[in-house]
């Protein structure tokens, strides 16, 4: 990982030195062990702060839509993109929120991000002093003794099923994991959930979302959610209540997920941001599979795609239409 970090720092230093970029968005080590935090580098001397490890979880493309509105038109923004981050960025380009020429993308072929909750649950209070990692393992060093965790077993669900670890668009690529895209499979979790009976599915849907406190972290962490005025905060008209009662919470999540149809790249940022650890991917991933099977469409692969729901074809299937019997 150290090689990748130094390569990254070299690239960013060069970008800044040659004024190709006014600002670079990357990761810095977090204030807590096993965590990283987004960081915005503008000066050359801050470049040393940049890191790359298995905990660089945030989808940095989320900052681009608001940045492009605030910064003067000519500013060039550099960004570090994993596979899914780059697809979110391509989606922003396709939806005209970001211009490709305004962004310099340093891509990383992503080996998969480790889910820190799976590890911290096993710590039971011991304090981690230092974290090291190699291609297979995460090594946690305590004041006395250490623990080894296999990377593959502790990846986030969205990383386990990742089909596009290499960024779909980049200016510079840093090779990390050498693995070709996995076979295209519907997510096993979705397939298994679909087998359940209707009432059971609704009961799980209600149960999971009954813990929601409506903090909107899932929406604010998602690069696709860039609307200036979200339907959830509209007051003329107010579509649904402000309470955290079940019907309001379900209304918000159903409509937000429907807004991701044909746009969600399944990066898992919403599920990671949720403080209540609600398994949101169980409900967002279904449309990702449906969109691939029904329309053979995968969002975020090339900037000259057009959005799924902005196109149609004459022979789209319509078996679901009701017919008079």
């Amino acid at each position: 990982m150290k090689r990748v970090e130094s390569e990254l720092i070299e690239n960013v230093e060069e970008l800044l030195r040659e004024k190709k970029v006014d600002l670079f968005i990357g990761y810095e080590s977090g204030s807590l062990p096993l965590q990283t935090s987004p960081c915005f580098v503008t000066q050359q001397e801050d470049v040393q702060k940049l890191v790359w490890n298995s905990f660089c979880a945030n989808n940095l493309s989320v900052y681009l839509s608001s940045l492009m509105r605030e910064l003067p038109a000519s500013t060039k923004v550099g960004i570090l993109c994993k596979g899914c981050d780059s697809r979110s960025l391509v989606n922003l380009i396709v939806e005209k929120q970001v211009k490709r020429e305004d962004v310099v993308i340093v891509g990383i072929s992503c080996p998969g991000i480790v889910n820190i909750d799976k590890i911290t649950n096993k710590l039971d209070g011991r304090k981690v002093l230092e974290v090291e990692e190699n291609d297979e393992e995460i090594i946690l060093k305590y004041d006395v003794g250490e623990d080894r965790f296999s990377r593959m077993d502790n990846l986030y669900e969205s990383c386990k099923n990742c089909v596009h670890p290499t960024p779909s668009v980049y200016d510079v690529l840093i090779r990390v994991g050498e693995h070709s895209p996995k076979s295209v499979t519907p997510d096993p979790m979705i397939a298994e959930f679909s087998q359940k009976s209707r009432t059971e599915r609704w009961q799980i849907f209600e149960q999971e979302l009954s813990r929601c406190v409506r903090c909107y972290a899932c929406r604010n962490a998602c690069p696709n959610c860039y609307c200036k005025e979200c339907f959830a905060e509209q007051t003329k008209p107010r579509w649904f209540g402000l309470t955290n009662e079940l019907s309001d919470v379900l209304f918000y999540h159903i409509v937000r997920i429907l807004h991701q149809a044909g746009r969600c790249v399944d990066c898992g940022a919403c599920a990671r941001a949720c403080p209540e650890k609600i398994n949101l991917r169980l409900f967002t991933r279904v449309l990702v599979d449906e969109v691939r099977e029904r329309f053979d469409y995968v969002p975020g692969l090339s900037p000259n795609d057009s959005p799924l729901l902005a196109m149609f074809s004459n022979d789209d299937s319509q078996e679901f239409m009701v017919e008079a019997d």
């Binding site: 807590l32 960081c39 813990r211 903090c215 929406r219 209540g241 402000l242 309470t243």
Partner: protein, 343 residues
Amino acid sequence: MTKEFVVHKDDFNEFLTLLIKVYTVFGPTGDDGSNGIKRIERPEQFKLHHGTSHFSFKHFFLPQTEKLFSFDLASNKVDAPSEEQGDDKYSILIGLRPCDAKAVELLDQVFIERDPKDIFYAKRRNKTRIVSFACREPRSTCFCGSVGCGPDSEAGADVVIYELKDRYVMKAITGGGDELLNSANIYLNAVSKEDLAEKEKTMIEAKNHLVNVFTSDGLDGKISDFDASYWKRICQKCLGCGICTYFCPTCHCFDIIDEVDGSKGRRIRSWDSCMYPLFTLHASGHNPRPTRKERMRQRIMHKFVYSMEQYGRRFCVGCGRCVTHCPVNLDLRFVIKEIVEAK
């Protein structure tokens, strides 16, 4: 003469059973969700969290959604909730940490001490005794030591329980705490010198666990540069979600709106957050806090500066929940450190 007693660990369940007979007891039951506080009917249900709990105890006194009154549009009649206390049986909220207990005392300043009294909050608060557990092992994100609180703080609690190796030292802080302990006095034993010494030792150990990124005496007057450049840099990675305010035990802002169903309706108040765009949006479209910079600045200034002038108290108890739950790991401790050092 503060009263301290000892309860052996294996008597604790019986001790709790006696309390359950006299009071209605609420506490954490192991479920980590935001509705983690439940009624405790049997002592085994009570599961104390390791360090601070995932959620804050605020929503026991200030629920996320609360009906102020219901009304009937046909008759334009308002029926307010009954004023009297319901059954006058006291209830106990057990399982708080010292920071949570102090947070409740801070909320008391806003909703009870300062006129006009908020009867919804007061109705629950006046009838509830708080039993907190001193911290033996604060989490790595705890910074109560930096804001004038501590793992052994007694503020806001009626009874503080110190966990030792095989026994608990229970200290009654208020008259209510006294009464509470007396109602289960058959399990109370006199406290010995060794107990007190061991209690002191664990508390000192706990304090050494704390990583003080900044110190409270360094704060006064330091966070005052309203137009400093660091505010813009600090908030750059903030996503503007409401996690830090909804999980903070001292955040008490709320919104009031009406909801109608046919001819019946209700006016409710629900949690609100200064980090949300509508919080200060005027009907004319003007917004004194248009971007996340102003909102983050307001959140910090209110807890560390404005509350000192309004209530003479700092409205941060150092529980660290805003640090653990932030999706982008925006650590309040290092933000304060940066502000204090920039002065």
